[in-house]
């Protein structure tokens, strides 16, 4: 069953065709990687998914809901969660609060005027938060202020935050960018464990090790369009892919 259906997606910036008739189908529960050289349009595609930009034409349908034109928070409430490239957290708040916020958002929806009950007494939400923090190994630091974490820990916190929303679709934008080998491996580990088949994951990546460890299907983008698609083994040896990376008129 298709989780995400993208058809005919187009976006131009002036004369530049950032998205040139992109068609993509992602199945439920799979891990789908999108790779391609710089400037291929991967980030633009992701931005179109999360509502950061509005495409000129085409449609993006997730779980039956059309995402084009929706506000970022509405898209999130539909189950599409974005993991930022540089960890975006609530720096001045504690780790516990950082995870409580998405948990509350999941429980209460985009807005709820619950100004009287005590946040500290919402047992169920706290259970979720505790669970998430334990999963990423940060429960012991839950009272620390988020800004004081190392970058790797911030990444883990961010993942905990995203998963606290019980996402149906997880969009990861270069999750291991700038990471050491050790951190990369532990992130792969984390991503493999979490969600277990119920969460659809779309990963934009440059690190081929990550891609081949996680992806069940790969789409290759170049110059705003998908030029190849298939199982990892097939993509590895596809001549079009090799040309896109090594040859062609791009930097």
């Amino acid at each position: 069953m298709a989780a995400l259906e993208v058809s005919g997606l187009k976006k131009s910036f002036g004369g530049l065709k950032a998205l040139n008739d992109v068609n993509l189908t992602v199945q439920f529960g799979t891990v789908h990687a999108i790779i391609g050289p710089n400037g291929a349009g991967k980030s633009t595609l992701l931005n179109a998914f999360v509502g950061r930009l509005i495409p000129d034409a085409g449609s993006v349908v997730f779980d039956g809901i059309s995402l084009v034109g929706l506000q970022p928070h509405e898209i999130n409430q539909a189950g599409v969660v974005r993991v930022f490239q540089t960890p975006e957290i609530f720096g001045e708040l504690s780790l516990l609060d950082n995870v409580l916020i998405p948990a509350f958002s999941h429980r209460d929806g985009e807005f709820k005027l619950n100004g009287w009950s005590r946040a500290a007494e919402q047992a169920h939400v706290h259970e979720v938060a505790k669970h998430m923090l334990e999963d990423v190994g940060l429960y012991g630091k839950r009272d620390m202020i988020a800004n004081s974490l190392s970058r790797g820990d911030k990444r883990r916190l961010e993942l905990a935050m995203c998963l606290a929303q019980e996402p149906k679709l997880l969009l990861l934008d270069e999750p291991t960018a700038g990471m050491s080998r050790a951190d990369t491996n532990s992130t792969i580990d984390l991503l493999q464990r979490l969600g277990d088949g119920k969460v659809t994951k779309i990963i934009i990546e440059h690190d081929m090790h990550v891609v081949f460890s996680l992806a069940e299907k790969i789409s290759v983008m170049a110059q705003g369009a998908i030029i190849a698609e298939g199982a990892p083994e097939a993509i590895k040896t596809d001549p079009r892919v090799q040309e896109a990376y090594l040859g062609g008129a791009h930097l």
């Binding site: 999360v50 001045e92 916020i101």
Partner: protein, 378 residues
Amino acid sequence: MNTLAKQDRWLLIGFTLAILAGPILLKPFGAGYPDLLQKFCIFGIFAVGYNILFGLTGYLSFGHAAFLGIGSYTAVWSFKLLTMNVLPAIILSVLMTAVFGLVIGFLCLRRSGIYFSILTLAFAQMAYNLAYSVLTPITNGETGLQLVKGDPHVLDRWFGVPIVDGIPSTNFFGISMVGYSGFYFCAALLIISFYVAMRLTRSPFGLMLKAIKSNQNRLKYTGVNTRSYALIAFVISGCYAGLAGALLAVTDPLAGADRMHWSASGEVVLMTILGGVGTLLGPVIGAGVIKYLENIFSSFNEQILNGVFGFLPDALQHPVVKFVGLFVGEGWELTLGVLFLVLIIFVPGGLMQGFQSLQRRVFPTQPTPAADATRGAH
């Protein structure tokens, strides 16, 4: 987690006792008389409400003095038209500011950051100009809105309240609002306002506001409709300001356009910052300190200064008095400005930050305090 609720209970009890004992506690400081005490409470309410928008949610508004004015005007009209009983006046003021808050907030919050601040500034100046020279039938312009002998007092007549000779005084179901009873009325409202703010801060709603201040963009991508949360925060803080404005009229039935000048908004910002942005007690303490200092500084004049510095040789005394004289009496605003500057530059966390550092030095066993809903800073 129940420890926080317990802490809060103690805080509330302590706060209530401190406020109610105000007249006694402040007597040695020369601040125990009703007028000043009422001001403490009223501006305490104003500051607590303002802190919800500024300290908690992170939106700097220059327009809240307008709500103060709206509250005052509404209250005085209630006195004139309906009854001298303060209850309808207060309720109407809060309702009126809620309506205005919704409209103005909806417009201003379409942008954030500097644009938001400038928008509130524009609205404040518009409101001031309108009150001063355009809507004079409602506001009586420069002279201000006052009670006059011919006021209808419709509800009062209906309920057979005896007509007084001269200008009647405000009352709460018969209890006059002048003097200490007026203070206790304001104090009761302050305690209630404080409690409401406390519950709000500890609630999931309050947590979302803090998240807005911390990283609004991220919050949007976490599925939260930040604009709705900010709007409610704006309206609530506006209502607090409206209540404060109404109480100003309760204790002194007069409403003037000056109250709405945006520089009055600057004062409440100062109170909030002085006390400690984002804390619960901070704004109240800040309001108290500012009003207290204003009271002292404004009453100094050259004579008193000469008396104070009389011990200096004449050659020194004169320049010293001249210099200090800049900062007192009419020069209170200057002192306020300097205080403002010093605070922003050196102690942005305000008095509460100072207390907490002191607390940490005396009791070093506390873990790194995170001012959040689960741990709670007071």
